[in-house]
């Protein structure tokens, strides 16, 4: 099973500076959070997907397609039922409600997709180095990067554990909601314990490799703002500026 989200390709996107990619992600969030027009969000989605396509990162979306779909469906169903509005189609469901649900669904999905593209095209070390360069303390940056790294490890462990418990007769697919929730206990407890044991060794290994020896450290990996970065940064800033202008000034 693939543990990391990072896809090791050599594309324009991968070569961009992590700071640039963080800014692009920020720009995506700004636009997604500020606008409620379906057209604007669809254009944003198209731009983000093309951006992801450049980095050949879209294959990673397959891994979270279920989550994306569920968020979208929940949003549509929930808002259709609760939004009110006109014209009524069936019971409390209105066209406005459905549209609003779609807009909110896209908002969330596109932010998740933007985050996924960032993680798929940026090494964990680049993220922490990028954070250090924007003046986040190294320990903080490393902790953040480690948290990202931990997620796939936990998923891999829980996969083994679920196999072990299913072999003992655990059947997660039957019973009502409360019964099902209870059934996750045999999965949760061993996962938590394994992760705690693992992080303990991890902490010892870090110290044994001289982590925290001095405030300064060499960075074998080098990042720098290049021409391509400047172009992308410029575009992202323009997008943010225009968004703010339209939203707050006009």
């Amino acid at each position: 099973m693939e543990m990391f989200l990072y896809l090791d390709n050599d594309t324009f996107l991968h070569r961009l500076d992590p700071r640039t990619k963080m800014l692009v992600m920020l720009a995506t969030f700004v636009v997604a959070l500020m606008f409620y027009s379906l057209n604007t969000l669809l254009i944003l989605s198209a731009v983000v997907l093309i951006y992801g396509l450049v980095g050949k990162t879209l294959s990673n979306l397959k891994r979270i397609r279920f989550i994306l779909l569920m968020i979208f469906l929940f949003s549509v169903v929930l808002w259709s039922l609760t939004y009110g509005g006109e014209p009524k189609l069936l019971g409390p469901i209105s066209l406005e409600g459905i549209l609003y649900g779609i807009v909110i669904g896209i908002k969330f999905d596109i932010m998740i997709i933007a985050g996924m593209i960032f993680l798929s095209s940026t090494k964990v070390e680049e993220i922490s180095l990028g954070l250090v360069k924007i003046k986040v303390p190294y320990r903080g940056a490393f902790a953040f990067a480690t948290a990202i790294r931990m997620v796939p490890m936990i998923v891999a462990t829980s996969y083994t554990i679920s196999q072990a418990q299913r072999s003992r007769g655990l059947d997660l697919d039957s019973g009502n909601l409360v019964e099902r929730a209870k059934k996750y206990i045999p999965l949760l407890i061993p996962t938590i314990i394994s992760v705690i044991r693992g992080t303990n060794v991890f902490a010892m290994a870090l110290e044994s490799k001289g982590f925290g020896y001095s405030e300064d450290r060499t960075n074998y990996l080098q990042i720098s703002i290049k021409k391509g970065d400047l172009l992308v940064i410029f575009m992202a800033l323009v997008v943010i500026a225009i968004s703010v202008y339209y939203r707050f000034i006009i």
Binding site: R168, D171, S194, G198, V201, M204, F211, Y220
Partner: protein
């Protein structure tokens, strides 16, 4: 060799904060000089790992507790020095390689240590190249550590420590979780490091057979050093080793028990054994050997119906990896089969088909006459129990009773039946009376037993064990295998994945060797183990006593069997 002291332990005692009984280390005195290669052995809980952690300061800085005495490493008083500073002097490698690696690619993993010590970037680059050479990872320069095999991961972990150029390297059971091929890789690195005279090397190991290369062998028990000497001398202390719970070498054990050979004369290796055997004028008794073969044949005839039948089994993982390439195999009632092969050979993939965890992508698997494709894992699970390698991947309850009762409860047994089954399962694993205890506070060997009991309580016909002896010390391994043997005698069919060859030779009835998704060898243990050379192609090495008997022309499987077949003197 210079007599410069690299490591000095003076009256070192340590008790962990939450440790109730006794001390992890008790008044240990030890001196290791520059360039020495020291091997440390001892049963679980002997204090070996604690000692290793005392060397770089993880004890007492990371693991706290009551500390007295002094540790001086290359002039530094460890107690007063931060771990990150000690890291420059001594590199520590752990058993759990998964948790030691955290970088996106192998180069960055190796760069991490030197980065912390502010080594210039160009220098780091040349060290990376040097490390790939030293730990033999050519062509892996840009791989993600998670895509490497276990052996490669551990070699990378060692490389990531060596790149800081520590003067002392200490490895805490580096080979325990590795397959035979992986172990060879680690021993190769150890020998290279030893050849570089200025590196002091300390390895904590279970593998007795590789210890002859070391300069010193230290035996520990209950926080104390029991014996410290040249490996060839220490290894001749057969009885002492057995008492401590360390596996003695088989060849000296045989000569001591059979001929009463004096300590100084004991041969250690199979070739030496042959010479001694001839010198003593001994020979192998044809009749006794025939009776062993007859017993194998009788056992073969006594097996019952076919329980698991596999035909043309293929499995291709979603990522396109072909793990199994057409396997035909059957297991009859009452058999005890061992599956051998290095990691990634497909053994685990194969057995996961037997209880329905995986479905064939081609071919079919029949369990008790039922195609696994037409039934569920819940149903197959009643016939086939699966004990996973790591007991901590399945234990979740506060009490042993709850843990063992889980399976019968979920299968709808009433309270009375559950009580009976829990009692029966705990009795079978020798853990009666522990019902109210907390499984998490038990030793690994005990947790492994609870895991077996929790599978037994479903009363399966077949029990699959995935590396049941890994991470256990010799005494615990013996206890575990005696338990498995008893289960087999009581009518359970056993399928066991393992890398431990003596376990196979002494306990398994039959052996299947898997390589690259194909079955390379299959037959009775005696048959398969008579082919030393063919086994070597799958990086498998027969235990010393089997190897020696093969050289003598007749295959025996244990020291006791060889004693039975020895004639003369």
């Amino acid at each position: 060799m210079s007599k410069e002291n690299m490591i000095e332990l003076r009256n070192l005692s340590f008790q962990y904060k939450d440790q109730k009984d006794g001390k992890a280390l008790e008044k240990v005195n030890l001196t290791i000089s520059k360039g020495e290669f020291v091997l440390v052995m001892g049963p679980s809980g002997a204090g070996k790992s604690t000692m290793a952690k005392c060397l770089n300061g993880l004890v007492p800085h990371f693991n706290r507790g009551e500390y007295s005495g002094e540790v001086i490493v290359n002039g530094f008083v460890v107690k007063d020095t931060p771990v990150s500073t000690m890291a420059k002097e001594i590199g520590l490698v752990f058993q759990d390689f998964e948790s030691q690696l955290f970088s996106t690619n192998t180069k960055l993993e190796i760069a991490f240590g030197p980065e912390n010590f502010q080594v210039p970037r160009d220098e780091i680059h040349s060290r990376i190249l040097e490390m790939f050479d030293l730990v033999d990872l050519h062509g892996m320069e840009n791989r993600q550590p998670s895509t490497l095999s276990g052996g490669q991961k551990q070699r990378l972990a060692i490389g990531s420590i060596l790149s800081t150029y520590p003067k002392i390297v200490c490895m805490d059971e580096p080979t325990t979780d590795l397959d035979p091929l992986g172990k060879i890789g680690i021993f190769n690195i150890a020998n290279k490091l030893h050849a570089a005279e200025d590196v002091t090397l300390i390895i904590i190991e279970h593998e007795t057979e590789e210890s002859l290369n070391a300069d010193r062998l230290i035996l520990m028990q209950e926080g104390k050093i029991i014996l410290d000497g040249k490996p060839s001398d220490v290894l001749r202390e057969v009885e002492l080793m057995a008492d401590l719970g360390i596996m003695p070498l088989q060849i000296p054990k045989y000569f001591l028990e059979n001929f009463g050979t004096s300590k100084t004369e004991l041969p250690l290796m199979p070739e030496e054994g042959i010479a001694k055997f001839k010198e003593l004028g001994a020979s192998l008794d044809e009749q006794q050997h025939q009776s062993l073969i007859q017993m194998d044949m009788d056992r073969e005839k006594a097996y019952g119906d076919v329980l698991i039948e596999v035909s043309g089994l293929e499995h291709i993982y979603p990522n396109g990896n072909k793990a199994l390439a057409g396997i035909d195999f059957s297991v009859r009632d009452g058999e005890f089969v061992a599956l051998l092969g290095h990691n990634g050979s497909g053994k685990t993939t194969m057995v996961k088909h037997f209880n329905g965890l995986l479905m064939p992508t081609a071919g079919k698997v029949m369990v008790k006459g039922q195609n696994t494709k037409e039934t569920s894992i819940f149903e197959v699970g009643q016939h086939v129990g699966y004990v996973f390698q790591n007991p901590d991947h399945q234990i979740f309850s506060d009490t042993v009773y709850e843990e063992v009762a889980f399976s019968p409860k979920i299968r709808g047994c009433d309270q009375e039946e559950i009580d009976i089954r829990v009692k029966e399962a705990l009795a079978a694993v020798g853990m009666s009376g522990t019902e109210e205890e907390d499984p998490f506070s038990m030793t690994k060997g005990e947790r492994q037993r609870i895991a077996v009991a929790s599978v037994l309580s479903a009363r399966p016909d077949v029990i699959i064990l995935d590396e049941p002896t890994t991470g256990l010390d010799y005494r615990e391994q013996r206890q575990m295998m005696e338990l498995v043997k008893k289960l087999n005698r009581n009518g359970h069919t056993i399928i066991m994945i393992t890398h431990t060859m003596w376990v196979v030779s002494e306990y398994a009835h039959k052996v299947a060797v898997i390589k690259d998704g194909k079955m390379m060898m299959y037959g009775t243990t005696r048959e398969v183990f008579s082919h030393d050379e063919e086994l070597a192609k799958s990086f498998l090495k027969t235990p010393d006593i089997v190897h020696m008997s093969n050289l003598l022309g007749k295959t025996v499987l244990s020291v006791d069997e060889l004693k039975q077949c020895t004639k003369g003197v």
